[in-house]
Amino acid sequence: MRLDPLLDLFRGRAITIPPLDGALRPNTALDAAPVFDGLAAPDNLSWLDGRLVCSSGATVLALQAGQRLPLAEFPAEVTALSVSPAGALVVATDDGRLSEGGQAVPLPGGVACITALAHGPDGTLWLANGSRHHPASGWVADLMERGASGAVWRRRPGAGWEQVAGGLAWPNGLLPGTAGCIVSEAWRHRLIRLESGRLDPVLLHLPGYPARLCPAAEGGAWLAVFAPRTRLIEFVLQETRYRHDMMAEVPRDYWIAPALASGRSFLEPLQCGGIRTMGVHKAWSPSRSYGLVVRLGPDMAPVASLHSRANGQRHGVTSVHETDGRLYIAAKGGDAVLEVTA
């Protein structure tokens, strides 16, 4: 109605989130997918020497045929990893350090929250720093503070670190190309392209918080969406007083905030639709966690998706990797690495 903008002053703006429709229509593909490895909290996937590499907690492992081979152990949780064209393992940890082939790499000031690493075709190392104020494990606090202090850095071969973009709301995934890099900006629910000093939106209005990107063999990319947007969370993000009190008084696990997994404690918030009725937890119910992998076409528009819905288990997908027609999916909240045909 035309009077709505006027009435909004009194009642507040309507809170809407993009519907899961079209290419994002829900299915149960993630719950139906076979488990490649039941690793606890698998995070970043990569490929090294013909084997899948995966971080889990403070360890980086190689996974092959049901075997887990530890490659490296760190004092803090691994937050991102990448394999250089030369085969060196670059690993970032939650204590704000970066190591390349076992050697510590000096970082520019303010970079201590590395959420994603990626090597470009020319060997450039791209780095996403989620926030200046929180470590990577403190992502939920950064979201609830409506943080926008993230940055993307790069290191050209033989050169030093150089900031490509700043003021980003938790850059969380990188897809370097020949000229620039596509970045997933989680708190703004979008993908952006950083190229020759410019920032262009590529994909807007995602129904969840995007995580890491990985190139697809047939062009385009795979996008992991690690948590859903819900109207209650969007509402709480607008409710400043309540949100600040919540952050001050409520343990972080029980905030009204997105999560990698949910329903594990009775202290977590519950929404009306999530009430278990006659033994059924409804698939459509609003949930703090969700499993979603989106296939993006060459123009970065969604063409297909894999889901684990509110009543599913394979939630909190943070990373995907495609190799040889196989797609590996790390469901961090669901404690499993899945394998499907790409």
């Binding site: 109207r231 009190d245 008084e249 409520v250 029980y254 202290l267 918030p269 009306c272 006659m278 033994g279």
Partner: protein, 706 residues
């Protein structure tokens, strides 16, 4: 507490926001806008025109008003039935002429003149009614035709006989009295209008024909399906309208003692405007006589006032037209948006700071620590049952429970695999209890307190208590009777959880958190129900203490157990026995070892507890998010807790997996087993209690061994 928080507490606990929602639910709230208009019009013209309120002027105006009101009441009834009557003006004129002709030309008595006027009205009304009701022609066109024909006949008659009327010497005291006299300071026409208004109002609101008219106007098809004779009802509304117009014609005949060419001209527009401005819906089904009268006053005061202020007919007509347009617009917008507004404003949360609680997390080492033991319970009726809120066993070990379909289902001992519908009550049967004679008593959500005899006869015991003085919504009605227990003297102690929400919306009450729960007692000796306590946050489970000297009841949203003393020095008062539990208590029942079982329907979550201190946030949430997105207490995890008379927690059972018994609303100990119900569950659980007396049954404990 911060100053800001204290301010919030004052703002939301002292200002009664919920009143707006309750007012909007009232049917009479439709009258608010016309009433406001009435006050403005009367006050406006009263102050603009000197002498507006002096008795002589008022007497003349009211005489006119009486006649006009008669016509408007008739038209209102037609509109309520879904029709429209444009011919009232010409019927009015013809009625007037009939009376004048009888009296002056034929020298008949006044009574016959009245009957003639009435007869003409009925005749024309019947013609309208026959065409519209039985032949189902369009009301608008049909009455327009009768209007034109009636007017034409009248004009011919007036031209032919007008002069002879003037010359007549007919005289009658009665005629003059009706036209000029007053009774108790009021003119006959006002008295007639008042009498007709009262009768019509009573018939419309209290009697079958009136209800039929409203039903037909509301929905012809539904009325037909309900067995109402739609055509006859429509027919009768037009006859009634015609009769009213005829009677009004008689009154003007006595007042003016003649009939001129202008009589009743434009009356149909005035009457229609009055009816609509008063708030009667053009679509039918919604409206009242009072609205018609308000509209009549508004329109008459306005037209007369404008004339006395020196405005011409054109201005007058213009104002009427604008008034009509405004009224129709408001009517439509109001009708369309009222329920939306109501939905948005009904939930009016209050401030509450919940007390610190001990953890119920497994392994926390507190007495409340939950476990997974209920997951082991064997399932009864899995897949067949829906919503067994409470469960109970009789002396033959058969198991009874209510369902959300309004049935009491009985499972047969010993294996509880066979079941039957024991009785159909309707509503949502919640708490259950057996009395001394073996009758099953149940608190039925949305209905009241019911008794089901062993031969399955269902009797209502109570559906209301005394209304409180300050209530806007009728709180005499039991809205959410929840649990009960029976004292040795036969008195039934039971709870009515909330005055604000219906039984199926019980969980919404937690969002609002307003303290409107009651503890009631039904006395079978007198058949009366009395309110013992009021103002608790969702009173729920009730049980008599083992010594029968007090009643234990719980206050769900405050996570408390209270004791109400029946006997002793504190008789008639309540005190808190357990406070600040980590779960929301539901039913309470006796245990075999002299202690009590309580069910937890859900668990407190820190985020919801915090939201209780932010009523503004909850209010905005209720307005801006659809209900499925609202933050709720965690009612996906419940449990069973054992406590004693001193309020000490002895034992807990939970189902943290949530697969078998996520929400527990009741439990009943019987011969060493615990039977577990859940209002949103699809089974009854049967759990063997270690160390419980395998012979103990509640029936023996309450009523002795047979």
């Amino acid at each position: 507490m911060h100053f800001r928080e204290r301010l919030q507490a004052w703002r939301y606990n002292l200002i009664p926001d919920h009143v707006i929602g309750e007012l909007l639910q009232k049917r009479w709230i439709d009258n608010a806008i016309p009433f406001l208009a009435l006050v403005i019009v009367v006050a406006g013209f009263g102050s603009a025109i000197p002498g507006f309120f002096n008795p002589a002027s008022l007497q003349d105006s009211t005489r006119q008003l009486g006649e006009f009101t008669l016509v408007v009441i008739g038209l209102t009834v037609v509109m309520l039935g879904g029709g429209i009557d444009l011919s009232v003006g010409s019927i009015f004129a013809l009625g007037c002429f009939a009376a004048v002709a009888c009296f002056f030309l034929f020298h008949l008595p006044t009574g016959v003149a009245f009957l003639a006027a009435l007869g003409v009205g009925v005749l024309f009304g019947a013609a309208n009614g026959y065409l519209v009701g039985y032949l189902r022609l369009r009301a608008f066109i049909t009455t327009l035709v009768t209007f034109i024909i009636g007017r034409a006949i009248y004009d011919i008659l007036v031209v032919s006989f007008g002069a002879r009327v003037q010359l007549s010497d007919a005289q009658s005291d009665l005629w003059d009295f009706i036209g000029d006299g007053t009774l108790l300071g009021m003119s006959v026409s006002v008295l007639a209008a008042l009498a007709l208004a009262v009768v019509t109002h009573v018939v419309l609101t209290r009697a079958r024909p009136g209800w039929h008219v409203l039903a037909v106007g509301g929905s012809r098809r539904s009325a037909h399906n309900a067995g109402i004779r739609v055509r006859r009802t429509v027919f009768l509304t037009y006859v009634f309208s015609g009769a009213c117009a005829g009677a009004a014609g008689f009154l003007i005949a006595t007042r003016l003692s003649g009939a001129g060419p202008g009589t009743g001209q434009g009356l149909e527009i005035l009457a229609l405007t009055a009816a609509v401005v008063g708030g009667n819906s053009l679509g039918g089904g919604r409206g009242s006589v009072v609205k018609g009268i308000m509209g009549a006053v508004i329109v008459l005061v306005m037209t007369n006032g404008l004339i006395r202020l020196g405005y011409g007919t054109g201005t007058n007509q213009m104002v009427l037209g604008l008034l009509l347009a405004a009224a129709v617009t408001i009517d439509i917008r109001w009708l369309k948006n009222r329920h939306k507004v109501l939905n948005e404003v009904y939930v009016a949360p209050v401030y509450l700071r919940m007390g610190e609680t001990q953890s119920a997390a497994p392994g926390s080492g507190t007495p409340y620590a939950l476990n997974n033991r209920l997951a082991e319970a064997e399932a009864i009726g899995l897949g067949d049952l829906e919503g067994p809120e409470d469960v109970i066993l009789d002396r033959d070990d058969h198991l009874y429970c209510g369902t959300r379909h309004g049935e009491i289902v009985r499972f047969f001992a010993p294996d509880y695999t066979r079941s039957e519908v024991f009785a159909h009550v309707g509503g949502f049967p919640l708490g259950l209890a057996f009395d001394r004679a073996g009758n099953l008593l149940s608190c039925v959500g949305a209905m009241g307190l019911y008794r089901i005899s062993p031969d399955r006869r269902v009797t209502r015991l109570s559906a209301e208590t005394r209304r409180s003085w300050t209530s806007i919504q009728d709180d005499a009605r039991l809205r959410d009777p929840n649990d009960l227990d029976i004292a040795p003297d036969g008195k039934v102690y039971f709870t009515d959880s909330t005055k604000r929400y219906d039984a199926h919306d019980w969980a919404l009450d937690s969002i609002e958190n307003r303290a409107t729960g009651r503890l009631l007692v039904y006395d079978p000796a007198t058949g009366r129900t009395r309110t013992l306590l009021d103002g608790y946050r969702y009173t729920n489970g009730v049980t008599l203490a083992h010594d029968n000297r007090s009643v234990l009841f719980c206050e769900s949203w405050a996570c408390r157990i209270h004791r109400y003393w029946l006997d002793g020095p504190k008789a008639g008062t309540a005190e808190c026995l357990i406070r600040d539990m980590p779960g929301y208590p539901d039913n309470i029942n006796r245990a075999s070892d002299g202690t009590y079982w309580m069910a937890w329907l859900g668990m407190r979550t820190p985020s919801f507890d915090l939201s209780l201190r932010h009523p503004g946030m909850r209010r905005r949430m209720a307005r801006r998010l659809p209900q499925d997105e609202w933050l709720f207490p965690n009612i996906n995890t419940g449990g069973v807790v054992k406590f004693n008379d001193r309020g000490e927690i002895l034992q807990t059972f939970g189902d943290l997996t949530g697969t078998a018994h996520p929400m527990v609303t009741s439990m009943r100990e019987h011969k060493g087993y615990l039977y577990i119900g859940g209002i949103l569950n699809n089974r009854i659980g049967r759990y063997r209690i270690e160390g419980a007396d395998p012979t103990w049954t509640a029936n023996d404990a309450y009523w002795g061994r047979p």
